[in-house]
């Protein structure tokens, strides 16, 4: 390690400037918008100066306490969406990683093919699933009809079937990341531990609970935290599959915030949603790191 640290700052300078200008400054601007009534008409342009004004906490009041606010429903959707997704990402990802961590034939090919959902651009995946869930000619209804003689289901026209569809799509999309991360974690567990356990005559179940799980914990903690953040902020799947419909049935906070901004042109209200989302994620991360710490793990 070198001591003349000013050189480190020179190397960091371009990135620091980019992050400051493109991430942190917009973030502060966004937070400031949430205290204004900014919309498409008063935001100003090259001919008209901006005329939006400071409204204090009015936006927050409207979002959190107004009787016609859709916030609480959408929050419930978001929680269902995030929890279900991360739960299945983790459990299925872990099971597949455990299977792939054995000495079996064709392991590399299995792994490569299972990465396909990650490799395909997510808007293409969203399209593929939207097409498969199509009520008239979608593969899923054709499949149910051909092999089980079931009536077609209008998947995307009913709140809960639509919710099922978007969640299934996103589970499919997110498993590879979790699987690969868990596989990396499994492979970093020293072989000697298992060999020693074999000498002691430990059963496979015992080895799993006493060696594998405890040593996998650090990876599992960071991966689920990242997974939660990404799922909470996932825009493409819902926007492209259902557009948040039917009747806001599958809307989550990020898609709603986007709609407020670029369909209703309510920039102030949209920013308020953004700040609330960020607060949730920060609060969750702090809480999560505490829990992880109590469990003896350091997450970041």
């Amino acid at each position: 390690m070198r001591k003349n640290t000013w050189i480190a700052y020179v190397f960091l300078l371009p990135t620091l400037i980019a992050m400051a200008v493109l991430v942190f400054y917009p973030l502060l601007l966004g937070i400031s918008y949430s205290f204004t009534d900014m919309n498409q008409y008063n935001m100003g342009n090259q001919f008209v100066p901006p005329s939006y004004k400071f409204v204090g906490l009015a936006n927050y009041k409207e979002v959190l306490f107004s009787s016609d606010s859709e916030f609480w429903n959408i929050l419930l959707n978001t929680v269902i969406w995030t929890f279900t997704n991360v739960f299945f990402h983790f459990t299925i990802g872990l099971i597949l990683a455990l299977l792939l961590n054995q000495k079996i034939k064709g392991r590399a090919i299995y792994r490569m093919l299972m990465l396909v959902p990650w490799a395909v651009p997510s808007f293409v995946s969203a399209f593929a699933w939207r097409w498969m869930f199509n009520g008239e000619y979608g593969f899923i209804n054709l499949f149910l009809k051909t092999y089980f003689h079931l009536e077609p289901i209008a998947w995307l026209s009913n709140k809960w079937t639509a919710m099922f569809a978007v969640i299934l799509t996103n589970i499919w999309l997110g498993i590879p990341f979790m699987m690969v991360t868990m596989l990396g974690g499994l492979q970093s567990i020293p072989r000697e531990l298992y060999e020693a356990a074999d000498v002691d005559g430990a059963s496979p179940v015992k080895k799993f609970f006493n060696i594998t799980l405890p040593l996998l914990k650090p990876v599992a903690f960071s991966a689920t935290l990242l997974g939660t953040i990404w799922t909470f902020n996932m825009f493409n799947v819902i926007y492209l599959l259902t557009g948040g419909g039917p009747a806001r049935g599958t809307e989550i906070l990020v898609t709603y915030a986007y709609r407020e901004a670029f369909a209703n042109w309510n920039f102030g209200l949209s920013a308020t949603y953004g700040v609330i989302i960020l607060s949730f994620l920060i609060a969750f991360s702090i809480f999560y790191s505490r829990v992880a710490k109590d469990a003896g793990e350091k997450v970041y």
Binding site: T5, G30, Y110, T146, S188
Partner: protein, 278 residues
């Protein structure tokens, strides 16, 4: 021994089912893209197109005098420019994190992690206004600027773990030979890191190639669309030309898929190193 064989069989069975579920949606789109409309909108399942046709691809290529190729060119320009900027930023920052001890190092790494939490929908309005006030809406430069930090946190983590594997002794020797720190970085470290840099470059390229939300919002002129946004032209609320969408989707997917399958090994090790060491 019998029980072990059974378990092995079960493992293969589960893995095969998982593989089928993983690749089926893509194969179904591929199959759709080679079917004529009449077969796409039919109540029967044809896994393999019955009347194989290139018609859909032909339509996509000749749509509005070949605007598809304009979108392709736009996507390529934006993705390449983003890659150049992204790799430069990631390499310099990762080198600082890998080789130096300095005040604020922990905070710096933490900053990248926190930055992942910022919802795109909170940044997008301020970015929109910033780009607008500098006349950078509907401009490739504006889009590249907006993209340049999207892949940065992951790129820095990946490259840092790559730099960590290069022995410091080489740089110390270079220093003795009178090379400046920047010369060392440029002449010694960069050439030795080509595999890591290549993966970072590809990762940045694909991130930009796949991005949808910023491109949808910042580019409103049809001739400036990137591929993902342009492809949406074929969808409207009441009527979707699934067979045409399918052909477009396949074309966009090919570069992403090829890269990914080639680079998966490095991506994976970068990911786990970044995730566990933080």
């Amino acid at each position: 021994m019998k029980r072990k064989d059974l378990l092995k069989l079960l493992t293969h069975l589960i893995l095969i089912i998982a593989v089928i579920i993983s690749i089926f949606p893509v194969l179904w789109v591929l199959s759709t893209s080679f079917k004529p409309a009449a077969e796409v909108f039919s109540p029967q399942i044809h896994y393999i197109p019955e009347h194989f046709t290139w018609e859909n691809y032909h339509y996509i290529f000749t749509f509005k005098n070949g605007i598809f190729f304009t979108w392709l060119k736009n996507s390529a320009i934006v993705a390449l420019m983003t890659t150049l900027v992204g790799v430069f930023l990631a390499a310099t920052a990762a080198y600082a994190f890998s080789r130096f001890e300095f005040i604020g190092k922990g905070a710096g790494m933490f900053m990248f992690l926190v930055a992942q939490m910022f919802p795109g929908s909170l940044l997008i309005v301020p970015l929109y206004n910033l780009l607008k006030s500098y006349g950078l809406l509907n401009s490739f430069l504006g889009l590249v600027i907006a993209y340049s930090t999207v892949a940065l946190p992951f790129s820095v983590m990946m490259l840092k773990s790559f730099f960590d594997t290069i022995p410091v002794e080489l740089e110390e020797a270079a220093k003795v030979d009178g090379l400046s720190p920047f010369g060392t970085f440029w002449r010694i470290v960069m050439p030795l890191s080509l595999p890591g840099l290549a993966v970072t470059a590809f990762y940045n390229f694909i991130t930009a190639w796949n991005e949808f939300m910023y491109a949808l919002t910042f580019m409103s002129k049809e001739e400036l669309y990137t591929l993902p946004v342009g492809l949406r032209t074929f969808v409207n609320e009441f009527n979707t030309d699934w067979h045409l969408m399918a052909a477009g989707a396949i074309i966009i997917t090919i570069p992403a898929l090829l890269f990914f399958l080639g680079a998966q090994k490095y991506l994976v090790s970068g990911l786990t190193a970044g995730g566990t060491k933080g």
